[in-house]
Amino acid sequence: MQGTVGAGAVMAAGSGLLSSPTLADGHGGGMAAAFEAENLDDALAALGGQAATESDQIKIKAPEIAENGAVVPVTVSTDIEGATEIAILVPENPAPMAAGFKLAANSVATASTRLKMGKTSDVIALVKAGDAVHMAKKEVKVTIGGCGG
């Protein structure tokens, strides 16, 4: 994971450059550290998610079998009141932390993107609401990995 340390710095420094309003002090911190973690425990620790409770109010929409691990569409949505952050992790990837979304007051608690997955793995969604962290997971079977070369 060359470059991730630098990326963290860029992220922190860059938040000021994006002229649009940003969440106060919401940058870097837990999420930046989570991106540097190379195993799930470290990533969860950085996000404060070790003690996360499993919740059926989090929905992960992802294919059961992904033919192409380079493009796995994942949508996470939640009904949990006051959700402020959504994080998506892929434990079997070299760096489990895949994407983090910080929601604003008027956001609807849903986010989707497409992820690379090296091999069959759970997809873990963490949702932070207030001081509590909730999680849900779903297994995605990958037939062709997304980390070739």
Binding site: M11, L18, H27, V71, A98, T110, K116
Partner: protein, 102 residues
Amino acid sequence: MARKIKIKAKEKDGVVTVKSIMNHPMETGQRKGKDGKKIPAHFISEIVVTANDEEVLNANWGPAVSKNPFISLAYNGAKGDVVKLTWKDNMGESESAETNVK
């Protein structure tokens, strides 16, 4: 170096759904090139989406997001809102695009 951003925003029942695809290589830093050397990581690390200059989503990404990344989000808004998406990558490149909510 300009990279394209496609962005669309549509309102239904007071909820605006924004969808966007950005042109970006999203190199992980794990792949090796033909010369056997690692291709340096190059990925979008931060995205800020605003509606009428008010932030509605802030995303931090790692290299595990796919090439030419797609993002979709939703917020409570109205037709005519100006939605702007700005991304920044780990090499300091940045690009933005905006659209009117339909």
